[in-house]
């Protein structure tokens, strides 16, 4: 009994020192000069622009990765073809790669001195140091979540209903819309929440490709680092609180959507 209490104490103590107290401390620091100062710090034009850009980028990345994620999950679960295992393995790369390497890869491919970047520049398209680069970086790092959440659901529901619909004359699109999509709804929702959290929180890849131009290509996370480096601690902690609140909201949502048998 004593050893059980001891283990509980060690486990909870570790979590408190590593997670709870530090996160609580950020809230305390953000409001140390009062709520008004914190509010003013996150409503400057730069902060509001960073927040807006973060939401815009996350919306694009989540939409792209959700559409792709559903298609990719169907391909991986329902089709048999050569190179399927390779595709399956490649899909996890974004989770295993350093975000800085992701940023570097986009910088090399799309910089003005590269063939691709120079070609795009002829048509007035700029990727690096502008919003498209941030979007590409964010899509890259948040790519696997929807696929990985939808795949097990697809496996579980099987194909009987889809085959029945097919013999009754439904078109592939009708089958997808009326049978498959409703069945995988929850997996998609969970994947979307995870993708959103990752998209909003991305920092390494974005700080490499964005050029960190204040008020132009700064996302919320880059804004936090920028405020810190400029010794504006209230601004940096207040912006962190905004991000932390989003993260905690995400946690609550994932608890809502998480498949029951996992818990």
């Amino acid at each position: 009994m004593i050893s059980r209490l001891g283990l509980r104490f060690v486990a909870l103590g570790y979590l408190a020192l590593l997670l709870v107290f530090p996160v609580a401390m950020v809230f305390a620091r953000a409001f140390q000069d009062g709520v008004v100062a914190a509010w003013q710090a996150v409503t400057t034009p730069e902060a509001l622009h960073a927040l807006w850009l973060t939401i815009l980028v996350a919306a694009i990345a989540v939409t792209a990765n959700t559409v792709f994620g559903i298609i990719c999950a169907i391909v991986l679960v329902r089709h048999r073809f050569r190179g399927r295992n390779l595709l399956d393995a490649v899909l996890d790369l974004p989770l295993a790669i350093s975000p800085v390497v992701v940023g570097l890869s986009l910088l090399i491919l799309y910089s003005l001195t590269s063939p691709v970047g120079a070609w795009l520049a002829q048509y007035g398209v700029r990727i690096v140091f502008s919003t498209p680069g941030i979007v590409l970086a964010t899509i890259f790092v948040s790519l696997p979540f929807v696929v990985r959440e939808v795949m097990p659901v697809l496996r579980e529901i099987g194909t009987e209903q889809e085959q029945a619909a097919s013999t009754l004359g439904a078109s592939p699109f009708q089958i997808f819309r009326m049978i498959t999509l409703p069945a995988i709804r929850q997996g998609v929702a969970y994947g979307v929440v995870l993708t959103t959290a990752r998209a909003i929180g991305e920092f390494g890849a974005v700080s490499v490709v964005s050029g960190k131009i204040s008020g132009v290509t700064e996302t919320m996370t880059v804004f936090v680092a920028d405020r810190f480096q400029n010794f504006d601690l209230v601004g940096c902690y207040a912006a962190s609180v905004v991000l932390a609140v989003i993260a905690i909201g995400t946690l609550l949502l994932t608890n809502l959507f998480e498949p029951r048998e996992d818990r």
Partner: protein
């Protein structure tokens, strides 16, 4: 799970128009993955070998790069070992113990995944940095790097071990206990071997994450070359000073390592599944 093997077989052949549809969706998947992931990564590999193998090796023989890589492996190994112990312990407490607020603690485990990494680093800095209310300042030391990595990798081992522990039969443990084994012996001889595949897979994931981590480290480590500069921060600094070849060479090394870990995890998962049966 065993049913999925049969139902997973391609139904496409039976459903009239589906084969065309299948080729289309497959094409879309491959093109999207290539454009977003593979072509950019290929560009990094291409750049790092731009001046041949010699150029690649020359970039890697930079002593600052070597120091950064060595530090990265050191701290990642330390973090993995701590995670194996604390992760297994936390999983055990969450599965076998019961106390008020356990549900809350359980959802708290995922916080490091939800919290942006730069905020994670900042939270640690606010408690353990300069002006620490505890009078404990570890900022700009290796300990700070380890702590930041422990924060962001916390969920991996816990979440890998938890479901396995929850499904484990209590009978074996009871048998060991009735034969006079101490709780410690029971854990070491009965519980831990059964958890091993899960522990290793969680450990591999946290190693991969540690090796590439950037956001949580960059503010708290001070990025002192030869002292607290890890590989990802080194790459970042090389990009800032326009040494793209140097950045690409170290990146390729990290990429190769990520690939190795993914392949190892794949093998580990197959082994774990066989272990189940």
């Amino acid at each position: 799970m065993s049913a999925s093997a049969n139902t997973g077989a391609a139904p496409a052949g039976k459903a009239g128009a589906a084969p065309v549809n299948g080729a289309l969706t497959r094409g879309v998947t491959v093109i999207y993955l290539s454009l977003i992931v593979l072509i950019p990564l290929a560009a990094v590999v291409w750049t790092s070998f731009g001046e041949g193998i010699g150029g690649f090796l020359r970039s890697l023989s930079n002593p600052q790069a070597i120091a950064a890589l060595r530090l990265t492996f050191e701290v990642s190994l330390v973090v993995v070992f701590i995670n194996i112990v604390t992760g297994t312990l936390i999983a055990w407490v969450l599965v076998r113990d019961s106390f008020r607020g356990k549900g809350l603690v359980n959802s708290l485990i995922d916080l490091p995944f939800a919290l942006p990494t730069v905020v994670a680093g900042l939270t640690l800095l606010s408690l353990y940095g300069p002006k620490s209310p505890l009078g404990l300042n570890i900022a700009y030391t290796k300990a700070a790097v380890v702590m930041a990595l422990l924060f962001v990798t916390l969920p991996f081992v816990v979440r890998a071990v938890q479901p396995v522990l929850a499904e484990m039969d209590l009978e074996m443990e009871e048998a060991a206990h009735s034969l006079g084994a101490s709780p410690f012996t029971t854990f070491l001889r009965i519980i831990f071997p059964n958890l091993l595949p899960a522990v290793l897979s969680g450990a591999a994931l946290s190693f991969a994450r540690s090796v590439g981590e950037f956001g949580s480290i960059v503010l708290i480590s001070g990025n002192l070359p030869y002292k607290t500069e890890v590989a990802s921060v080194f790459i970042y600094n090389q990009i800032q000073t326009d040494n793209i070849a140097g950045a690409a060479a170290v990146s390729v090394l990290l990429l190769a390592l990520s690939l190795l870990i993914l392949i190892g995890l794949n093998a580990l998962n197959r082994w774990g599944r066989r272990h189940d049966q």
